[in-house]
């Protein structure tokens, strides 16, 4: 007895596998990849949170001679008036935990995953 190469029952199993893969894909893509933000601090104080999905430059009187740039999910200190230029030479950073630090100005730019619905009183 010759079994057909592709029986109706095979079609059923193929559709089931396809559906399972699709569902898993949807769940994974929905929960993963939360956008990142760059937290800009002067000393202990957070002066800005920059969304890395938005291209732009950030300047502030609290950050003397410093220009911070964001684009395409990454951030860098584009220019700084500090003497050592370590923060500028750090270049683009994009992964949560990465930081560009300017010790002379006591400024840090740290990438972290964006907490979508987290607020802290105090």
């Amino acid at each position: 007895m010759n079994r057909p190469f592709f029986a109706k029952r095979d079609l059923f199993w193929a559709a089931l596998v396809f559906a399972a893969v699709t569902v898993v894909f949807c769940l994974l893509t929905r929960q993963g990849g939360s956008p990142s933000v760059a937290e800009v601090r002067v000393g202990d104080r957070v002066v800005a949170e920059l969304r890395l999905t938005e291209a732009g430059v950030f300047t502030d009187p609290a950050l003397p001679d410093m220009v911070i740039e964001t684009e395409k999910g990454r951030v860098r200190v584009r220019s700084s008036g500090c003497p050592d230029q370590v923060c500028v030479h750090t270049g683009w950073i994009s992964r949560p935990g990465e930081a560009a630090v300017c010790l002379p100005n006591r400024v840090s730019v740290t990438v972290r995953a964006e907490d979508q619905d987290r607020w802290i009183a105090g």
Binding site: T22, V23, D44, D117, W119, I120, A121, G122
Partner: protein, 332 residues
């Protein structure tokens, strides 16, 4: 069924993405999360509101109402309705709580003396402090169509109440734009409107006053419109000769409040009241907090150095302490 799941996934989850903003206003980091209504227009209007109130209330701006009053002490000054309203509210709070004397509008000269708000805060000498304390007295302030501050009085400083007041105003603005669900964070003052669109209460963390910025003492679950205002000595301070001096000055002594509490949080629909009371009760300390736990239009939560939390009964069901913190058993 598969197509249905994909459509549900696409729309049920991504449609509810709120409109978010972040700004630096009133010398503070400000975020807005607006879930419904005309979200962008509402957020823009709230940003403009805070910017406007900063331009009216900041005493560091020569053109602000408060800056002009301070510069023209001795002469009546016409101010915006918002400034007159805020000053009147503060006077009303002081009349309502005469037993609390930890808040003073005329504390500005004392704050200047200590250098808070500058790059060089420092410990003044005793005579200077005594002289500045002698100038504090809000009764000298005349609030009507025009504001009059005697030359001999201390300068005005609304730092202890302006952010909470603005946060409360923001709730009204959100409503005007059809918003029923939003959260505003204004330098640690949180304004909550409605509930999360998923039906759950908004969860608002409360900062651990002796921990790092992201460490929590507990979590609020907020189900009603309100402003949450907190005062603590950890917010701004300097050290001199090994002693830490925080920025919450006691108008009676002229020195940083010798409070037996690390932070006081007040929850109220009236943002100005919440901010006012959090300052006054922090300065007043534990006894003042314990005698003000049963407010009709506010609730109080205070944390001491033993990580004991004293709170109004109405907060017990909506506040969960973090590990290491304990709720005081007896609240008079």
């Amino acid at each position: 069924m598969l197509a249905g799941f994909i459509l549900w996934d696409l729309f049920a989850h991504r449609k509810a993405e709120p409109y978010r903003t972040s700004d630096y206003l009133m010398d503070a980091y400000v975020t807005q999360t607006v879930y419904d209504g005309d979200a962008k227009a509402a957020a823009d209007a709230v940003r403009e509101l805070i910017h406007t109130e900063e331009a009216q209330f900041s005493r560091y701006l020569d053109t602000s109402d408060i800056g002009r009053i301070n510069a023209s002490a001795g002469e009546p000054i016409a101010v915006s309705p918002e400034t007159a309203s805020l000053l009147s509210e503060c006077r009303a709070f002081s009349a309502r709580f005469p037993e609390l004397n930890g808040f003073a509008l005329t504390i500005g000269s004392l704050v200047d003396l200590w250098g808070f708000g500058t790059d060089a805060p420092h410990l003044p000498n005793e005579d200077e402090i005594a002289a500045a304390v002698g100038r504090i007295g809000d009764d000298a302030l005349t609030v009507s169509d025009q504001i009059s501050l005697p030359l001999s009085a201390g300068r005005l400083d609304l730092g202890g109440v302006a952010k909470g007041y603005a946060a409360g105003h923001a709730l009204s603005v959100y409503r005007e734009f059809g918003v029923t669900s939003a959260v505003l964070s204004l330098g640690g003052n949180i304004a909550v409107l409605g509930q999360h669109p998923n039906g759950a209460p908004f969860e608002i963390g409360l900062r651990d006053p002796s921990g790092a910025e992201q460490e929590l003492a507990g979590q609020f679950r907020i189900t009603a419109d309100c402003v949450i205002a907190t005062t603590g000595g950890y917010e701004r301070y300097f050290e001199e000769n090994g002693v830490r001096y925080h920025h919450v000055l006691d108008p009676k002594t002229g020195y940083p409040a010798d409070s037996d509490l690390l932070s006081v949080t007040v929850v109220s629909q009236n943002g100005g009241l919440a901010d006012y009371l959090s300052t006054a009760l922090f300065v007043g300390g534990k006894q003042a907090v314990l005698s003000h736990l049963d407010g009709e239009d506010y609730a109080v939560l205070a944390i001491d150095a033993d990580q004991t939390i004293y709170l109004s009964d109405c907060l017990r069901d909506c506040f969960t302490p973090e590990k290491g913190f304990a709720l005081a058993e007896v609240t008079p």
